[in-house]
Amino acid sequence: MRQVFDSTVERLFADIASPAAVLACEDGAWPQAMWAAVEESGFPLALAPEALGGAGASWADVCGVMRLAGRFNVPLPLPETILANWLLGAAGLAPAGGPVSIVGGGSLRLQGSLVSGKAPDVPWGGTVPLVVAVTGGSAPMVVLLPTEAASQLDGANAAAEPRTTLLFEDVAPVAQAPLPAGWPADVLLLGGALVRAAQIAGALEGVLAMATGYAGERVQFGKPIGSFQAIQHQVAVLAEHAAAAVMACEAAFAAEDTRIVRLQAIAAKICASEAAGIGAGIAHAVHGAIGFTHEHSLHLSTRRLWSWRSEFGSASTWSQRLGRAVCAAGPEAFWPGITDGRFGTLQEQYA
């Protein structure tokens, strides 16, 4: 399924997400036609169970979709929608029609049958009609919430992608179901980290291609700058980190069922986020002044790299969580933890 998915979305994104089209979305307007094309492709329902009208695909199948969404800077909450519909399906709920976003953090709680609390920086939270969240407390629930019922604080990340803070006060969910037994309450944070890691990996493939291409064309001191050892070595480092991000994501998406392997997902966000900063810096250094202009499309990728690395937990945040688990497990458990893909108790391993 992977290859079919990849070639389909690559054609789709190449068609609808040109640099000009991406740039046009930076004023915050919702690209309805672009979304309609994506919706028609069926990918928003990729991970929803077949029994509920989805494609029943696995995370491994959609790794390429996420990477390509990053590579083409697709200005849509497609990764969020795939993730939201996956969790709805896992909880036995029907997928939502249209774009759905996710709440990765904050403090939503269910009191009686109503949800209250703050959902900070929700991707396209001011545009999508619905968001999926997991409520806090001892019996976490998967809830589908209408955004029109929330007070909204407008915002945008460094790439001008909408990030809206939603304030819910006694809002009735459109649908709700208990979080599957054994799943952690931070499943949407972890899932968000996983898809952002893949988008970063895709964006890095893009900037690597741009840097390599530019270094071969741009002439300084009478020869292409790509023939200077200092430029070659910088591009090599960019390639190394892009490769690490790709590998970490591929491993994280590779679980055989539809669950997320926690260590791999965390490692993916850490490695990808670190690669994002290194890669964006090198890409700009190689491109020089031209890459710093609004006209050149390099910044469509680098501004996303600078944003995505911080979203759904930065490299530091996840590293600290992982580091605490590693230290708590102790030195003897370290290497077995690496080979087994887990630290600590089994319950913490999956999302």
Binding site: G28, D121, L153, D154, G155, A156, N157, A158, A160, R163, T164, T165, V219, Q220, F221, F228, A230, I231, G277, A280, G281, H284, A285, G288, A289, G291, F292, T293, H294, E295, L298, H299, T302, R303, W306, S307, R309, S310, E311, G313, S314, A315, S316, T317, Q320
Partner: protein
């Protein structure tokens, strides 16, 4: 070239004495300016603000009194400049005139040029830009092709400059152009003071990735200059330009560009940092204190009439690294994503400087150029 040139060079008391007045002025004049605006550092443009500084005698301070200067030491200017930068004051309008054009006109200019330009510079009324890069000569300035051709007593300029900061808001450009069409590389280049209101000049702002317009393309189409526009000696433009590089590369603007973010980070972290936050903030404070001493050491060499170009390259390279590290560390120390709309003030300062930081190692000599200079100064080639 030796690292032993970095000797302790404290600010003399008479320079230090100015600091209080500058801080007092800034506390009043900057009271309503938000951190996100201060983050523009020396790219912030405010002509009225520059005139206010001019009134106080804080532009062209080192110039002779007869031209409106204060004949102050480079250290006095240093105190004023570092206080302006630390506060994030909008100094861009007069920046290049104060740092480069004024001193260069004093050094190489004719009496007429001095009389005409220097007093207006000191008043904060004449703004300059520096025309160096061209489309096919970014770091490779020796490949400049914009030409000035003699035509009787006049010069006819044709060609194009690019990445010229502030051209659209400046009165004059000091441009490096080729006056000998048969010359190669560094030879046959000369400098001109070009009135940007002349016919034949087209200035086209270039939007940067944040949407701001600091850079410009400047086109010259048979622009006619008087003989008096040449500054210094015909054919010596390269030497004149390189002589000022130490001034351009060693000032506090080479390590204070991200100071607004460092300050806002300290505030966002709060009074009780964790071990990671304390380590990285303490490290940055130590490095800043040291960079400032290095910059002062170069200033002392300049004040003594030496040309510490190598030492200045060291300052700029380390300073640029410091400036570029700050957004990276700010990202690592708090779980705050950069924000271009909404979000906290800190998130917006973070977004602005994260996006601007790549330019710090492009302007004033790229990292590759500077490391090459440093290595050659050590005898490697």
């Amino acid at each position: 070239m030796s690292i032993d040139q970095f000797t302790y060079s404290p600010l003399p008391p008479e320079a230090e004495a100015i600091r209080g007045a500058v801080r007092g002025f800034l506390a009043e004049a900057m009271a309503d300016i938000a951190p996100a605006r201060r983050a523009e550092s020396w790219m912030g443009f405010d002509a009225a603000f520059s005139r206010r500084l001019g009134e106080r005698g804080w532009i062209g301070m080192a110039l002779p009194k007869r031209y409106g200067g204060a004949e102050a030491s480079p250290f006095a200017r240093y105190v004023v400049v570092e206080e302006l930068l630390a506060a994030g004051a909008p100094v861009s309008a007069h920046w290049f005139a104060d740092r480069q054009s004024g001193p260069q006109i004093l050094h190489y200019g004719s009496d007429a040029q001095k009389d005409f330009h220097l007093p207006a510079i000191c008043r904060g009324e004449q703004f300059f830009c520096i025309g160096m890069s061209e489309p096919n000569s970014g770091s490779d300035l020796a490949s400049i092709r914009t030409s000035a051709r003699r035509d009787g007593g006049r010069w006819i300029v044709n060609g194009q400059k690019v990445w010229t900061t502030n051209a659209q808001r400046s009165h004059y450009m000091i441009a490096l152009v080729r006056t000998d069409p048969d010359s190669k590389r560094n030879d046959g280049l000369s400098q001109f003071i070009i009135d940007l209101s002349l016919p034949g000049i087209t200035i086209r702002p270039i939007k940067d990735l944040t949407g701001a317009t600091h850079f410009n393309e400047v086109f010259f189409d048979d622009v006619v200059l008087d003989a008096g526009a040449l500054i210094g000696t015909e054919g010596c433009g390269w030497a004149q330009v390189t002589a000022e590089l130490a001034f351009e590369r060693s000032g506090p603007e080479r390590f204070l560009s991200s100071i607004a973010l460092l300050q806002s980070l300290i505030g966002a972290v709060g009074a009780e940092p964790d071990a990671l936050q304390a380590r990285d903030i303490g490290r940055l404070a130590a490095r800043l204190a040291t960079l400032r001493q290095m910059s002062l050491a170069v200033t002392a060499h300049l004040a003594a009439g030496r040309n510490p170009a190598w030492e200045a390259s060291v300052v700029k390279e380390l300073g640029t690294t410091f400036e570029q590290e700050i957004p990276e560390l700010a990202e690592a120390l708090l779980d705050v994503a950069p924000a271009t709309r909404g979000g906290s003030e800190h998130a917006r300062v973070l977004a602005y400087l994260m996006q601007e930081a790549p330019s710090f190692s492009l302007r004033g000599g790229t990292r590759e150029i500077l490391r090459g200079i440093i290595a050659r100064g050590l005898g490697m080639r």
